[in-house]
Point group: C2
Chain length 498, copies 2
């Protein structure tokens, strides 16, 4: 899940911007297409339900074969003229083309996997995709993947069905790439994109985007212009590698004469942050950090509103920002500051109570967020050198997943079209320079250098949590239901077509 869910959620809880009457806009008359959307509402709902009922969970190796087959079938039904699986060293990816003979070609990024779900935590079974009444919102599909990402993706497929149902050709050609491992950090997605045929098709695109349910509870939307990079890794201290301490867990009374790999790890971790625990303190870590541009700072300033701060603090359970900084500075750091974080600590005895062992091994799970112009390779080299220099050469750095930051210009046609479409719905989207992370780098970095983003009206919530939902019939005048989301995709395609 790209963490834009967080941001939309936060925005969503804000009261605010006025909601304009629904616009009837079109360069050509889209009335017949909109009619098709309304007529095909039940069909579109059932398509999303059918998709949710096929669990595909990369982390548990569940349903990937069935999932990729169903996904290919859904693409073909929606009119993709070519839709093929791309095998990788992990779960299969997908490459599909919809050649409408149009002048412009647009890229699409899809995922067909979902996060794990524990049915015991759900009030409606996660794989049944039931329609549930949400007070103040309307009717929603509840199920794992409902908003992340089968609902919005299904709404986009419904847009293609509606256009075809109205007897129209698509206004743009489509090139779609997809993966079944988004929820485990997209480890093999580059293998899909780097296929010569795929690369060639993508290189013709005027940008690439993912269908999304961008509306918060106030109906407002944020347009994100990129993301930080991330390195997830484990730091592993062990007696075996260290040559000190035990090679297996031993009785803790022996600590009097035997070194502790767990304390060795603690000492190494302690060197990674500033004395106040806030910033990375790894040698040379800030060398390549590019400060926010004035335009980016302007976006942050526009977003850093007092009421937003209060909602954020409440939702996050945070009483104060680091160093008691004001919200504007906190938001500036969100967009522009590299970080080092402990995701998890695991060592020795982890059950209830205590156990008198001297553990032979301890692990810290870390994530580092990178900003332009930091690179993964340079950061890993700096981390290694930093540890080596301080007597921690034995500590292993096991990299789990890593990708660089990505940036898309607000002036790109992709983002301009987003702005224009949202504005036609009476919305005034906030621009945000940089999310916490999403692997858009595969598109934005050389050789492709594509603009990349997320788009879509509509609303859902609960990604990675129980009772995930996607709104299909809205009773809230500020928020679009499924048909409004489908219509926003139709409009977006026509705006992009120019």
């Amino acid at each position: 899940m790209p963490d834009l869910f967080r941001r939309s959620l936060l925005r969503g809880a804000l009261a605010g911007a006025a909601w304009a009457a629904f616009p009837s806009f079109a360069r050509e008359d889209l009335g017949p297409v909109y009619d098709q959307i309304a007529r095909r509402h039940e069909e579109a709902v059932r398509r999303i339900q059918r998709w949710i009922r096929q669990p595909t969970i990369a982390a548990e190796s569940v349903g990937s074969e069935e999932g990729v087959k169903l996904f290919l079938e859904l693409l073909r039904e929606a009119g993709f003229t070519q839709a093929q699986r791309i095998d990788t060293e992990g779960k299969p990816g997908v490459f599909a083309v919809h050649d409408a003979g149009a002048a412009k070609t647009l890229g699409l990024y899809f995922m067909y996997d979902v996060k794990q779900a524990d049915p015991a935590e759900w009030s409606s079974p996660p794989w049944e995709a039931r329609i549930v009444d949400k007070p103040g919102l309307g009717k929603a599909i509840v199920g794992r993947g409902a908003v992340n990402q089968k609902g919005p993706e299904g709404a986009f497929l419904a847009a293609l069905h509606a256009i075809r149902g109205a007897g129209r050709k698509l206004p743009v050609n489509l090139v779609l790439v997809a993966e079944g491992e988004e929820e485990i950090g997209s480890p093999h997605f580059p293998q899909v994109v780097k296929q010569p045929e795929v690369m060639q098709a993508l290189s013709k695109c005027g940008g690439i985007w993912m269908p999304f349910a961008a509306q918060g509870l106030d109906g407002e939307v944020t347009i994100n212009l990129g993301a930080k990079g991330v390195i997830e890794c484990e730091l592993v201290a062990s007696g075996e590698k260290w040559g000190r301490g035990p090679a297996k867990d031993i009785h803790s009374s022996l600590r009097a004469a035997v070194d502790s790999p767990a304390f060795h790890l603690v000492q190494a971790l302690n060197t990674l942050v500033t004395p106040d625990g806030v910033d990375p303190a790894i040698d040379g870590w800030f060398e390549r950090v590019r400060p926010l541009s004035p335009a980016e700072q302007g976006m942050v300033d526009a977003a850093a509103k007092k009421e937003r701060e209060e909602v954020m603090k409440k939702q996050l359970g945070v009483r104060r920002w680091v160093r008691e900084i004001p919200f504007r500075e906190a938001e500036t750091r969100m967009a522009g500051q590299p970080t080092v974080n402990i995701e998890g600590l695991v060592g020795g005895y982890t059950g209830p109570g205590g156990k008198t062992v001297l553990p032979h091994r301890a692990v810290a799970k870390l994530d580092f967020r990178l900003v332009p112009d930091m690179t993964v390779a340079d950061c890993l080299a700096k981390l290694r050198a930093h540890l080596d220099k301080r007597g921690f050469a034995d500590i292993e750095v096991k990299v789990g997943g890593a990708y660089p930051p990505n940036t898309t210009s607000p002036d790109s046609p992709l983002i301009q079209a987003e702005m224009a479409t949202y504005k036609k719905y009476g919305l005034s989207p906030l621009l945000w320079p940089r999310l916490g992370a999403w692997p858009g780098y595969v598109f934005t970095e050389p050789p492709l250098r594509l603009a990349a983003g997320h788009f879509g009206l509509g609303h859902g919530s609960g990604a990675h949590a129980p009772d995930e939902y996607y709104l299909v019939e809205s009773t809230n005048p500020k928020i679009q239901g499924l048909d409004g989301a489908v219509r926003s995709f139709v409009d977006y395609l026509y705006v992009l077509a120019g």
Copy 2:
């Protein structure tokens, strides 16, 4: 489990001392008693098996009621004239008396609980107490509790049956106290001992001891003269208490502006040890530390043999001692140095791979070993003050179990009788000043001030591990089987009787 198992195991792997022919000693003729031991061999084996087949696991709250009932029954069968349960806030304790009208009274400390067992790890089911051939040793009972402590305790009960079977009265009176929570750190045992009736009975004792299988694989034994104290506790860092960082796990991209309780914990832990990670660095920690006496140092020097070092290093998987110190110094530290150890680290995401969370809470499970004259209260006050002074006042110290060190004089009649009995079997016991920990303080501290120890020939291994065993028929001339163990208990009682 008192950690003397470790020490006997280590000693056990050493080749060494000669084994004398079995002595036929007695102030009165013990021949008829020895005859009873041989005649009642099968009965004694079956008693231990029956006991093992009743699992009593305090950590899992399994079988405590059945366990205490069976234990009381075994005591009454063995001739204890009074045997009663003592309810505590935890599992029940036991108080029993065997009044033989003798001049001297002796204390006994028993446990009726055992450690957990995972049957999947055992080659013979842990609750079946099967008789298994052990190459080079003989026939052994395999089961959870076989050596820790039902085998040796059952052998002691067999000694009482043999004495009675020969028509004799016990040469000493017995006062027995027992608990069903030894394996979870004896949290409620002081409630048993502090009962006025129990305290009064114990105050008449000339010392207190626990039946034990002291022989290593070479047949040799060590006599332990006390133990370090221990404080087990959790250090808990949390956003809630700190007032910084999040109050629940949040997306790790927020780390840019939100403090990390996990790093806060790391920084606190880092202050607890010297820069080389070896010694406690808590303010004032060494103020009350009493160095080893010349006599204690002499014991350590006698034990610090080269071949012993090699066996220890191999068994522990340790290549070097802290600071590359020689073995004598390592052993000196084992006996005389306070320690701080990380038993376990638990925070945030602990599963496979990573998860991009900023955890709201992280926990370090620590144990501290105390030496004379450190006290639990003083150490906890010093730890608190140390943390408070360095900006970690928010970090909770949750004490799990704690007790002070204890020391018994080698000149006490209890230890002198151990020496004398072992020597009659041709053994030259090593003296060791101080184990890693056992809660003998309840007996050695005021007001009781009893000598306290462990005694018994015989052999077993695998305490807290799979395939725990207790030897019942020895084919190894250096090691006593069950009958030899029972005989050593008979002899010990008669030596103590004077």
